[in-house]
Amino acid sequence: MGFYVAQFLTGLASASSLFLVAAGLSIIFGVTRIVNFAHGSLFMLGAFIAYSISQKLGFWLAVPLAALSVGAIGWAMERTVLSRLYAAPELFQLVATFGLVLIIQDAALWIWGPTDLLGPRAPGLTGVVRILGQPVPEYDLFLIAVGLMVLGGIWWMFTRTRFGILVRAATEDREMLQALGVRPARLFQVTFFIGAALAGLGGALEMPRQPASLLMDLNIIAEAFVVVVIGGMGSVVGAFLAALLIAQLNAFGILILPEITLVAAFAAMAVVLIIRPYGLLGKPATTQPHAVEIQPPQTLAGYGRIAAIALVAVLVVLPLVADSFVVVLTGDIMIFALFAAGLHFMMGTGGLISFGHAAFFGLGAYAAAIFVRDTGAGMEIALILAPAAAAVGAAIVGWFAIRLSGVYLAMLTLAAAQILWSAGVQWQDVTGGDDGILGIWPAQWASGTTAYYYLTLALASTGIAALMMAAGGRFGHLLRAGRDAPARAQALGIDIDRRRWAAIVISGTAAGLAGGLFAFSKGSVFPDVLAIPNSVDALVMVLLGGLHAPAGPILGASVFALLEDSLSRLSYWRALLGAAVVGIALFAPGGIAGTISAWLTGRRKETA
């Protein structure tokens, strides 16, 4: 009995620290609708800053000072970057926060160096208390108390202060609040300050539990999102319950099944989302968009058609004039462009966001690799199987996903990707685990840089053209109707859910083909094709290129891949890449293609 009580308390302490990070993320999302990828970076900064301050001023001063400093950093982030992007299309701010993650990673490396920094223990709380004979660290009890106090404090602020009421109002209905004359700018600044300070507090309070390390940012961010989504976006009490659920699941899960550590949180999220599409305490968006915003159809017109033909012509002659590495790099970019184009189809035309598109890319790559390894048969069939396997996977994920919307849908795809990823890691007999599957090289006729390049060009350009045609055709129109005016579309007798489902399957199929091509171009497959960074790369390519422009994914993939390839030759290249991404976001808030096309249209109007 005593053992279980103590295990519960230990789980509660972990829940507290998870809650602190997630609460800030939830508040920021609730008010500003920004999916803040950099929240994990703020958590990491909290730990590092607290370490530095504690060396001079001791633990107890370091914690609040670190929280305030990180709050100030969050405020500055909002002022300098994000505040300029509120008018950008949905989710576009995510690109900027992704850039900030890269900048903060390199800044932390530059300031604190590569070595982990173990901070001091909390003076006065270094011992243990015996509860039912079991040792429970005093600091754990302190953490539990802090978690409850923060929960209480936020509750008080939200229900008893004018600021809190405004925050809640903004969470419910931002447009209405603006219409009532509340200036959102200051509200957003304060929200960012509080959210960031909570992340910083969470990081600072980790000092006695783990060393400050450069891996903290990416390690916490996925879990923090999971907590926020399980709890219901914007619900702080929900976040608390979700943190509790995940921490206890982990605490007791590992007693029965120690290997559960990789998936527990994501499996829990998938189950919760299937049962409760808006999380435990989240509410469905009560308000439909006030004005139906009809986006123009995405077709290539005028300049676009000429550009597409010119691009294909250039790609065809490229191997005759360029050196073989340029050919390899261009091949890679075409694969990513196909991957991004699939995601763009689903997100741009369908309005269905995916945070886990690596799931389908990885399914394609693994299907091809497993088939070649186990049958010894050739690449040709494997390249048919790759999109087929991804289509089946997408059909299954899509079946559950179409009941959800917005970020919840996106997070369900993330859960699916993480579950597949952990299968990739743990199901060693089939996937080879972390050691992956080797020796997946193209068939004789397609081996060699140039031959494989032409195969990639043929398949990728066909795939992208097919996606563009689907988006511009009848199917695309129906899909857009479901995206922009679901109620009207339904009234016209359009089965939106079926179209959405089909869109996810089509999108997954393209990703699967890209995955299959990727496997043969690299000769091996590892679980990283299924991992979060791969999903994020695709997402950034799509958003960077422009969500509502047909050339978006091609431009996005090219710019991102070329930037990464050229910058990664320099030291501190991540900060440079991050700065470039933030810069593009600031100067081209419609994405690269969107901004170019707006510029061209503007010029045409002027001359007309």
Partner: protein, 397 residues
């Protein structure tokens, strides 16, 4: 000072003029510099110093060595792309590097497909030389199996019979636990494994993991966690008394990369593999240590030695082969002997694994720092399977 610099500059110019007609030999180097700087930065400093020393002595056969080093950002796909660029555009004679096992495997498969020599310096996976070994890949650092076997031999000498294991939930952790169990059970059939914990890599929930281990009431604990996980495990374990009165055996914990961040909270009395650079007293190592501290103004890490040995191996290889033809270099790698700061190592012809060993000892705290005491150097050759056994584990090709 200025005069010294000028002289050095002049010397460098003279050397470079005298060798201007000999093209440098280019070596392609790939590693996860941004993903895990704590381990790869000292490694880079190690090979950079070796490169400077070799070139200052006139290079190999009158040709300077040139290393083109690139960051793979922790992605195997990137590493293969970079390998392509290094081989096809930069015309490197051979590839070297990598830290993560899966990236090492990806590059080794590229090497096999494209018939390029690859000296895998840091990845620990056994598969690189055994189950997925190939003709073109050689590995320097003592593998997971070798280090686990060193510890199992020490563990067998203790009284502990009931063991629990804690390892990160990925290939390295799994391999390390399997190898430890295999060797320990062979040496001491009475042992019993009562619990195993698999925290996610760098995401350990240390409190609950410690309690789960405690609940199994083991006499011995075998730890494979490292980096930030290790710090968390040590803190949560110490405060709850998990390690009191128990034998703890821990992989890699004695390496400065992992031991130094723990400062005065470093565990005492753990049996570990590591690198007691501060206490090794041989002429070769003393010279290496002095040169490194002078060059970089910081103390040695495990990575420094691995990086240094990597370039020494490549230079020795090029001396021996006298050519940058891949077949000749592969032939030269087999049985290649290299004099390193830790003594002579040999790249075994049977499985392409170097006999670079490791130091095994107990942890302690001295002057507020974690150190290894009572250590000994275990030669890699002593823990590797015989040539026949090793050959049998490799695919036929």
């Amino acid at each position: 000072m200025k005069l010294a610099r000028l002289t050095a500059l002049a010397a460098a110019i003279v050397v470079s003029i005298s060798q201007a007609n000999a093209e440098p030999i280019r070596i392609g180097e790939i590693n996860s510099y941004t993903r895990l700087p704590a381990f790869t930065e000292p490694y880079k400093k190690g090979w950079e110093m070796a490169l400077e020393e070799i070139n200052a002595k006139g290079g190999v056969d009158g040709r300077q060595l040139e290393v083109i080093s690139r960051d793979d950002a922790g992605k195997p796909g990137n590493a293969v792309k970079i390998a392509e660029e290094l081989v096809k555009r930069e015309n490197v004679a051979l590839l070297a590097g990598t830290f993560f096992s899966h990236i090492g495997l990806a590059v080794s498969d590229y090497a096999k497909q494209n018939k390029v020599l690859f000296v895998a310096s840091e990845p620990l996976s056994d598969a690189i030389v055994w189950s997925k070994g190939n003709d073109y890949t050689f590995r320097l650092r003592p593998s997971t199996y070798m280090q686990a076997a060193m510890l199992a031999a020490e563990a067998a000498k203790t009284d502990a019979v009931k063991w629990a294991t804690v390892a990160p939930n990925y290939a390295y952790g799994k391999d390390a636990v399997a190898a430890f169990k295999q060797v320990l059970t062979k040496l001491k059939p009475s042992v019993e494994f009562v619990d195993e914990q698999w925290p996610a890599l760098f995401k350990i929930d240390a409190g609950v993991t410690v309690r789960a281990l405690e609940a199994a009431k083991p006499e011995g604990i075998y730890n494979v966690t490292f980096g930030p996980d290790l710090g968390a495990l040590v803190r949560e374990g110490s405060v709850r008394g998990l390690f009191d009165g128990r034998t703890v055996v821990s992989l890699l914990t004695g390496e400065p990369e992992y031991l130094e961040p723990l400062k005065d909270e470093a565990p005492k009395g753990w049996i570990v593999t590591g690198y007691p650079w501060y206490a090794i007293d041989t002429p070769e190592h003393n010279a290496f240590k002095a040169a490194y501290e002078k060059r970089w103004g910081e103390t040695l890490k495990m990575g420094s030695l691995v990086g240094y040995n990597t370039l020494l191996s490549i230079a020795a290889l090029l001396e021996k082969s006298g050519s940058t033809d891949t077949d000749k270099m592969v032939a030269a790698m087999k049985g290649l002997e290299v004099s390193t700061p830790q003594g002579k190592i040999v790249y075994r012809a049977a499985d392409h694994q170097a006999t670079m060993g490791s130091w095994v000892g107990r942890t302690d705290v001295a002057d507020g720092k974690g150190v290894m005491t009572g250590w000994k150097y275990v030669d890699g050759a002593d823990v590797l399977p015989s040539a026949e056994e090793a050959r049998a584990m490799r695919p036929a090709n």
